[in-house]
């Protein structure tokens, strides 16, 4: 079975379309990346290393990794639960839940950050109570985690829900008749069924929480070495005309993103290989 099929346009047209796409990708995506890396290395490797091992830089890297390590598992659990409920249950408010899950995609991250400040900040609804009990949310780790949670909330649910819906619930029912309990059914059947979509969702969620700027910028307070994440640290360095150091940190962020994309490509490659091996075998069988 051929994977691609021509729909009959002339070779010249096809070549033009492909070239245009490649050119746009090269100019808009690849060129900036190369600039980032070349600027990062402009003052040499040792300067890059010193700027990245500066205590404030290390604190920013640590904070970003910590926030991601909290946010990704939480949003994975939430995403799975949300996808499961909207695809397998009919309940009042289901449509509302679907809309709510997608809300972070349509709201500017800065606005979501502002909302958290209004809720938990000094003058906010819960601000007084929080101060009395000595809980710091805004300008502290909890606020940054909340803002990042909000922004990355849709990724897992959006990847998993359509697949769950399309695959129905019969395999789960089969598992139940075979004696599986709820947890075995979920782990051995449901999770296995959506594993690729789930992994993509987790990778996207991961990439976004490493790189989130807007929402975090509002709630962080930019306290150096304390509440500065990597993207915020890049901005500070840049505003101080410390261009090479700013690009150095940016390059490190870019490397993390590239690693994420690489992981995704590797997964896709393995996935497609197993599918094409499958169809190959059917083909051999029919002969």
């Amino acid at each position: 079975m051929p994977a691609e099929r021509s729909i009959g346009e002339p070779v010249a047209v096809r070549a033009a379309v492909v070239l245009a796409a490649v050119a746009v990708a090269a100019v808009m995506l690849l060129a900036p990346l190369l600039v980032v890396f070349s600027e990062a290395l402009a003052k040499g490797g040792s300067f890059l290393l010193t700027s990245l091992t500066d205590p404030d830089a290390l604190a920013a890297i640590e904070l970003t990794l910590l926030v991601t390590a909290i946010v990704v598992p939480l949003n994975t659990v939430f995403g799975l639960a949300a996808a499961w409920s909207v695809s397998h249950f009919r309940f009042p408010g289901r449509q509302l839940l679907i809309t709510l899950i997608e809300l972070p995609f349509s709201v500017s991250p800065v606005v979501s950050g502002m909302v958290y400040v209004l809720m938990f900040g000094l003058q906010g609804w819960a601000g007084g109570w929080l101060i009395e009990h000595g809980v710091k949310v805004i300008f502290a780790l909890p606020g940054i985690v909340l803002a990042t949670l909000f922004v990355t909330l849709p990724f897992v649910a959006r990847q998993v829900a359509p697949l769950m819906q399309a695959r129905g619930i019969e395999e789960e029912e089969a598992a139940l008749t075979l004696g599986a309990n709820g947890w075995q059914m979920f782990r051995r059947v449901s999770l296995l069924k959506v594993r690729w979509a789930l992994l993509y969702g987790i990778l996207l969620c991961n990439a976004r929480s490493l790189g989130e700027f807007g929402a975090v910028s509002v709630v962080s307070g930019h306290i150096r070495g304390v509440t500065n994440t990597m993207p915020l640290h890049v901005e500070i360095l840049y505003n101080e005309y410390n261009i090479a150091a700013a690009f150095g940190m940016a390059a490190l962020l870019a490397c993390m993103a590239i690693a994420t994309i690489g992981a995704r490509l590797a997964l896709e490659w393995r996935h497609h290989r197993s599918i094409s091996l499958g169809s190959e075998a059917v083909w051999v069988d029919r002969r």
């Binding site: 395999e171 029912e173 089969a174 598992a175 008749t177 075979l178 309990n181 296995l192």
Partner: protein, 231 residues
């Protein structure tokens, strides 16, 4: 032996089953015949525990089954679309019911291997254990679904339109084979069909459902002579 008494079920305001009563003797091979919407699949799903009745009761071997979860009923269910676990090999599909048993009841790996191999031979799929369901033909998938259901050593076997998705040639062959298998294993078997010929050629008892009610209950011979019990 299955005893169904006064079973009723509604989906919203629509009645699907209305006061169904049936006694099914151990070892019998029963066809539930009816048009789509007659309630036959719902009845099968209630027996399996995948659906709850609104009223009425089901007893299996003298024990009330109402409220019992599907896994505790030891009923093998073969779905119309087979519902095989797509990411698992044929072997793992069949072994599933053994692997999910509580630790103290779970057979050892060697025994699982042995049981699955025997089931593969029983459904004539020797050597295909490593395949994925997507790499099998429709008739082969159907037999994997059957082997998977048989692996839990069910007291009752329920088949929902078992030959619905197959082309004629495969269907005829599988019918003969299923009849032999039933004679060999003697497991009480209920299957749902909308095909009268299929019901008559396979079953030793045919129950016709229409709009949620039993309209005829007869052996194939009685049915062809226009006799049988009309409640």
């Amino acid at each position: 032996m299955i005893r169904i008494s006064e079973l009723s079920k509604c989906f919203g305001a629509t009645p699907v089953l209305e006061r169904i009563s049936l006694d099914i003797a151990a070892g019998s091979f029963v066809a539930l015949l009816g048009a789509s919407g007659s309630g036959k699949t719902t009845l099968l799903r209630i027996i399996a525990g995948l659906e709850q009745a609104d009223r009425g009761s089901i007893e299996i071997d003298g024990v009330p089954a109402t409220g019992l979860p599907p896994g505790a009923r030891r009923i093998g269910f073969v779905f119309q679309s087979y519902a095989l676990f797509a990411p698992m090999s044929v072997f793992e599909n069949i072994a599933f019911g053994l692997r999910v048993r509580p630790r103290r009841l779970r057979p050892r790996e060697v025994e699982i291997r042995d049981r699955v191999e025997r089931l593969l031979a029983l459904v004539r799929l020797e050597g295909l254990g490593a395949r994925l369901p997507a790499q099998l033909s429709g008739g082969q998938r159907q037999r994997v679904a059957l082997a998977r259901a048989l692996a839990i050593e069910p007291r009752i076997l329920l088949l929902d339109e078992p030959f619905g998705a197959l082309d004629r040639e495969v269907r005829d062959e599988l019918r003969v084979w299923l009849k032999q298998l039933h004679a060999e294993l003697g497991i009480t078997t209920l299957f749902v069909t909308h095909d009268q010929e299929e019901a008559l050629s396979l079953a030793n008892r045919v129950v016709i459902l229409d709009r949620g009610q039993v309209v005829l209950d007869a052996s194939p011979t009685e049915m062809m002579q226009g006799q049988g019990h009309r409640p």
